[in-house]
């Protein structure tokens, strides 16, 4: 197991390195650089000013040298300095990362729990109206753009019903502490997490349902019935457990999409996470910050994949810890 993890980590480092190199050049192909942005914001500029900015950001150095400096920094866990925010990138990301983790993990938990529950119900009552209702709503959620759900839920729950706050991570200036703070954050979390969660819930519902129907046909389910086991035990112990394996795999594959979904949701709900940071960094050509967010996002995906793989291996005794 240790060797498996170690191997995956080393592999992951190489993937990250490749991501850095590719994105490094990619980002710099984009028209406009941070100097152009800041010159624009300054309200006045001349060529000398822009040149100063470029020098300040080391943008005047040749690209390979810039890359070298960057990679060297990353090797010592230094993600560089944000030109625009005048702060170390790692600090900026560290400020925002917890919010994103909270959001994505909650969304992930919601989607898995609800998805598996509904999927199980649908499979259990396959062919009935309950199955149809669940399948159709899953399809609808699956087909609805995330941002659309976000806008609509703000209208419904914040504006018309006034139940939930429409933006942010916590009530600014309320200075809650302890349990009140947790409750406050939770209230803010519900809508963004549900927005991301619903889409994935739909996916997992469909997957669980299909997978359960498939496992139901397998021989060992017949064995279980031949034992005289009660149906709900068969469903839970034999069908569901086996049916969850592909769902776990899918969940691993989805981690990238999950992080991506955070970009839209964080923007709409003003959730102070790194998804939003990424988009803002892009619009400001804050190269180091953008790269840093990419690296962290990708690392998150890698870790997430690793965790789902580990879970898979723990659930499925057939796979041993070898690559």
């Amino acid at each position: 197991m240790l060797s498996f993890v170690a191997q995956r980590i080393v592999k992951g480092v190489f993937v990250l390195l490749a991501i850095i190199v590719m994105n490094f050049f990619l980002i710099r192909i984009a028209p406009g650089d941070p100097a152009a942005v800041m010159a624009g914001e300054a309200g006045a500029s001349d060529a000398q000013f822009v040149q100063q900015l470029r020098e300040k950001f080391s943008l005047d150095k040749p690209l390979p040298e810039q890359l070298f400096i960057y990679v060297k920094g990353v090797a010592s866990l230094d993600l560089g300095f944000s030109f625009r925010q005048q702060m170390p990138v790692s600090k900026l990301i560290a400020e925002r990362l917890p919010a994103t983790l909270l959001l994505t993990l909650t969304a992930f938990a919601i989607s898995l729990i609800l998805g598996i529950t509904f999927g199980t119900l649908a499979a259990r009552f396959a062919g009935t109206w309950a199955d149809t209702a669940i399948t159709v709503s899953a399809l609808l959620f699956y087909a609805t753009p995330i941002f659309w759900v976000a806008l609509m839920s703000i209208l419904l729950f914040s504006v018309y019903l006034g139940w939930l706050p429409s933006f942010g991570y916590e009530t600014v200036g309320a200075n809650y502490s302890g349990l009140a703070h947790v409750k406050d954050v939770a209230l803010h979390l519900i809508m963004p997490a549900m927005t991301i969660g619903l889409f994935f819930m739909a996916t997992y519902t469909r997957m669980t349902r299909a997978s359960m129907l498939e496992v139901k046909r397998l021989d060992f389910v017949k064995t279980a019935r031949a034992k005289g086991l009660r149906d709900n035990i068969i469903q839970r112990r034999h069908v569901l457990r086996n049916a969850l394996l592909p769902v776990v795999t899918l969940a691993g594959v989805h981690s990238g999409t999950l992080v991506g979904g955070a970009v839209l949701t964080e923007t709409v709900f003003a959730w102070p996470g790194i998804g939003r940071l990424l988009y803002e960094a892009l619009l400001q050509r804050d190269y180091n910050l953008l790269l840093g967010v990419f690296v962290v996002c990708s690392a998150m995906v890698l870790i997430f994949n690793l965790v789902t793989d580990l879970v898979y291996r723990l659930v499925d005794p057939r796979i041993e810890f070898a690559s």
């Binding site: 010159a39 309200g43 001349d46 822009v50 005048q86 900026l92 914040s158 709409v268 709900f269 939003r276």
Partner: protein, 515 residues
Amino acid sequence: MLKKFVLALALSGVSTMALAQEPKIGGTINAVIQPEPPGLMLALVQNGPTQMVSGNIYEGLLRYSKTLEPQPGLAESWTISPDAKTYTFKLKQGVTWHDGKPFTAADVLFSIETLKVTHARARNNLVQLDKVEAPDDYTVVFTLKQPFGPFIGIFEVGSMPIIPKHIYEGTDVKTNPANNTPIGTGPFMFKEWKKGSFIQLVKNPNYHVKGKPYIDGIYWQIIPDAAARSVAYETGKVDVLPGGSIENFDVPRVSKLPNTCVTGDGWEFFSPMAWMWLNNRSPVLANKKVRQAIMYAVDREFAKDVIWNGLGKVATGPSSSAIKFYTDNVPKYPYDPAKAKALLKEAGYKGEKVRLMPLPYGETWSRWGEAVKQNLVDVGMNIETIATDVPGSNQKNMEWDYDISFTYLYQYGDPALGVGRNYVTSAIQKGQLFNNLEGYSNPEVDKLFEEGAVATPDSKRKEIYEKVQKILVEDVPVAWQLELQFPTITNCKIKNLITTGIGVNDGFRDAWIDK
């Protein structure tokens, strides 16, 4: 027909009414800040949001009324010598920095030296400055090389913020860690900045104007999505939506919400004006007739009524009507597609492709670009819209890589500051964004602007500037669109917020909450 739907907004004098009441003490104001500022150290960063937040932390020597009359700031009084070359400022005594250190003339001198390096606009404003001296701790004397009409208008907090010498002296201003916890003399002190969430300012208890500020603090909320911002206002989470916080199309609805006050005031100092750069170097647009055709083809009343909800004015020429020496005695370009078509035909336009680059500043500007494109298509032009984000559009503008490009610029009260730079030959310079990007060059215009800046007295300046306006409007170097007004939307319980020509930027000093 469209006019009927123009919304009559209550732009009336909120402040006059408010003055009649006794200010109440206490309370916190939640305001929207958009986008999140890159930093709060005003001498280093001068983008809009930074000015809006830090204008309440730092102060300038002067403040300006809505009619752009200079008012005391850190300077109690000022005198201008008869030859208009020496400006003497008496500083207020007993002013302290947020950290308790006293404020003196040395801080002003230090700030000016710093700004010359870090603040591009200040550097331009100070080109005529010969020297600046401090005969004593509370006197500062500016000596100019030659008279410079607009000089008295450059001391506002955003144009010339005064920074503490004792913190920055001997350090690299750009990398000083103190930039993260800005120290000023203003009515509010920096408390906390939770990146991506909010910036918190608290009342400066030792502020040098007794009794002010009235409120306990400000939360600047960072909400990246425009629709979410209006919801935040609607649900009472924020009380102040500074100009441009929500999309124009949403303004009429939000304005009609109960207990909501709207004003277009507070932008007089900036007098933002929107136009389209017409690249005079492009073979098609080099022809004056084509440029005039564009002026006739674009329905600017429509833009004002539909896109800007009737706010602002259709621009008549290079100068905004709030600017000194403005004249409307110039050729007019009403909406006249037939004339535009005729002019295009005269010019021999054969349907060559013309690229149009809207401003990437949100929905309002996208819609505007689309409307203009449709106007131009309707008179037979072949228009392709170029989509790009802010850096991309800045880059393209800086490199003159456009045909038609939207922009809006501040004019800073005086044609010598904010107008001439867009038309004189000497300002044609690749790699910058705010000066003559269209490549228009006319020796007569150059000469007139040069004279206008240094001429005395004002009557002479007026004569020169009126002349130059006429020439420019005839030549159409750029296609002027609208004098913009960005409505500030507040909960009506917030009183007295907009009192100066820079509005919200230094407005919280006088604001109070009616409970």
